[in-house]
Amino acid sequence: MNIVDNDEVERFAAMAGDWWNPTGKFRPLHQLGPARLAFIRDEVVAHLRREPRPAKILADLRVLDVGCGGGLVAEPLARLGAAVTGIDPAAENIAVARAHAEAQGLAIDYRAATTQDLAAGGERFDCVVAMEVVEHVPDVPEFLRSCAALMRPGGLLLVSTLNRTAKSYALGIVAAEYLLGWLPRGTHQWQRFVTPEELRGMFRDAGLEPIRERGMSYDPLRARWDLTDDCDVNYLSSAGRPVA
């Protein structure tokens, strides 16, 4: 089975020019940025035992950003010192990501590829990041197995996605796509959303140990997303590959 959904890839490729427009179609992802990055940073510090303070907190770590799009997550991780590889099945996204990183003076290894392509090459990473990807792939268990194959023993997998609840239908689809216009219509298919329990089961099936879950909630007064204990809509999840 193909690990990517070609319709989904084409839909994102068509919007590639808008990735870095902070007020464009991807504005919600720009706004989610700080909360997602805080989770990634804190999980790496806790799990891969880094010193919490230095400016280059991810120095000497090989990080793979799966479904990197225009590089919204890959660039901050590179600024924090990580050696980042960013992959996306859409060549249009990779072209945008490369041009942006070059203008920023950042060295990031971007490739138009899938996790299966990389696994076939035998590459291994300290940390694999897949932000807002799970809800767009046709076969989540297979996708997670391919991610696990790219992690070194003791490595870390960080995933963010949407829960499948009545609340996520109301907020994630009806409100975000139809009422508020935060996302283009058809961005998400609710049936594809995965609950935290299901995700934990799939992690175990892929040979990974679930570590932690955190929710993300929007605070309209401060116009920003915060990490919370409420995983009903947007949530982040971490899993480790056992050493032995």
């Binding site: 870095w20 427009n21 902070p22 007020t23 720009h30 706004q31 940025g33 700080p34 990055l37 805080a38 940073r41 400016a55 907190i57 991810l58 660039e75 901050p76 991780l77 590179a78 600024r79 924090l80 041009a99 942006h100 203008a103 920023q104 003076g105 401060r222 116009a223 920003r224």
Partner: protein, 412 residues
């Protein structure tokens, strides 16, 4: 090529720009490559010659300068204001009733304000910035053009040199050229008043007492300085002010004596009087992708209580905190989502301060009997209500609102 790339380019190396550069470099060493572009030659800033101008720093601003390692260099030249008298007596009445008296030395935070010569503060900020490896000072130099693209900004200097930046800060004053280049729209309000400023030496000690005398033509503030001197901030109708400025020293002194009264004994003018027009400019927005306004470039306001610089330092402190928090997540300092937090933090505060200043000016700059009674009643009531008085004290000390860490004396 890499030497021409900066994370942050600060346009304007005055108080706000230098405080921001120092805030970033000291809070997160080795994180930001910072360039400060300043019109004044470094030698001139370093010399720190007296120019007759002084600033009133709040207690919060002092905390910030302490955290930046600058306060120690100016402490001996900073006069603590230990009491503030507010009055609106008519000049011909010899005994002036005090409407409101703040005995600031009894407050837990110590003195409410400190008066320092501009030149001394500028010299200390320069000396501190020059020793920090992350900061490059480009002076004398100005920014001739900016070109903001999605992934970076290009700054063209007057010398023709081009720099690449993630983020540009416009800290180039009320008539900010950078603000114009970036296309920010402003709201402007011009008054027909001028502020006359100058330094007065006097015979008797001032005991750290500041006086804010509300006269029909505008407020007349006497701010105590070190060495038996006072700084005057004197608001007058433009035509009257021009006539006063045209007088010889004896003539000008006579006008000053009429307004200051005899409390400080014999007076003389140190240096000469200067003036600037009172106007307000408030930018409709404070940020756009890759650029933010700070200090007078964002809100050039004439402040009845001389708070302009303190609000600018609050901008520098808030912007420092927002950029440092962002950098700890690997975010681009020019990222609009980072900058929007700064705008939300500072814009409402600045707009409400502007409206308060304008309203106070209207309330006091008026000789009508009923208004005089209203403000005497109002201020008299404040004087008898310790809690409300305490609020005004903290407000005057800059300690109200959501305080950035630097204003609490902590690095971001």
């Amino acid at each position: 090529m890499d030497s021409q790339r900066y994370d942050v380019i600060v346009g304007g190396g005055s108080f706000v720009g230098l405080a921001l550069a120092l805030g970033l470099a000291k809070s997160a060493p080795g994180t930001f490559r910072i360039a400060v572009v300043e019109r004044m030659p470094v030698s001139e800033a370093r010399a720190g010659g007296f120019d007759g101008r002084s600033v009133a720093l709040t207690a919060a601003a002092k905390h910030m300068l302490e955290a930046l390692g600058v306060w120690q260099a100016i402490a001996a030249d900073a006069q603590a204001v230990t009491a503030i008298d507010i009055t609106d007596s008519k000049l011909e009445i010899p005994i002036r009733s005090v409407l409101l008296n703040f005995d600031t030395a009894t407050e837990e935070d110590g003195a409410t304000a400190f008066i320092v010569e501009n030149a001394i503060l500028r010299r200390a900020l320069y000396a501190a910035a020059e020793t920090v490896a992350d900061i490059t000072i480009l002076a004398p130099e100005t920014i001739a053009a900016i070109d903001i693209a999605e992934a970076s900004a290009t700054v063209t200097l007057a010398s023709g040199r081009k720099l690449i930046a993630n983020f540009i800060v416009a800290a180039d004053g009320q008539r900010s050229a950078l603000r114009k280049m970036a296309g920010f729209k402003i709201v402007e309000w011009k008054s027909d008043q001028l502020a006359i400023v100058g330094t007065i030496a006097h015979e008797k000690p001032h005991d750290g007492r500041a006086v804010q005398h509300f006269l029909p033509s505008g407020p007349f503030a006497i701010l105590p300085m070190v060495d038996n001197r006072c700084s005057l901030v004197w608001t007058e109708r433009a035509d009257v002010a021009r006539r006063i400025l045209a007088l010889d020293e004896a003539g000008a002194l006579a006008e000053i004596e009429k307004r200051m009264g005899g409390r400080l004994g014999r007076l003389s003018i140190v240096g000469k009087l200067s003036s600037f027009p009172l106007s307000m400019t408030l930018s409709r927005g404070f940020v756009k992708p890759r650029i933010a306004l700070a200090g007078d470039a964002a809100h050039g306001l004439h402040w009845i209580a001389g708070q302009g610089l303190n609000h600018g330092l609050k901008d520098a402190a808030a912007l420092t905190e927002v950029l440092v928090d962002g950098a700890r997540l690997g975010l681009d300092p020019g990222d609009l989502t980072v900058l929007e937090r700064y705008e939300r933090w500072r814009r409402f505060d600045s707009a409400s301060a502007a409206m308060t200043a304008a309203a106070l000016n209207r309330l006091f700059a008026n000789d009508s009997g009923p208004l005089r009674m209203v403000r005497q009643l109002g201020l008299g009531m404040v004087d008898r209500m310790p809690r409300l008085k305490g609020f005004f004290m903290r407000e005057a000390a800059g300690l109200t609102g959501e305080l950035p860490k630097l204003l609490k004396g902590e690095l971001a």
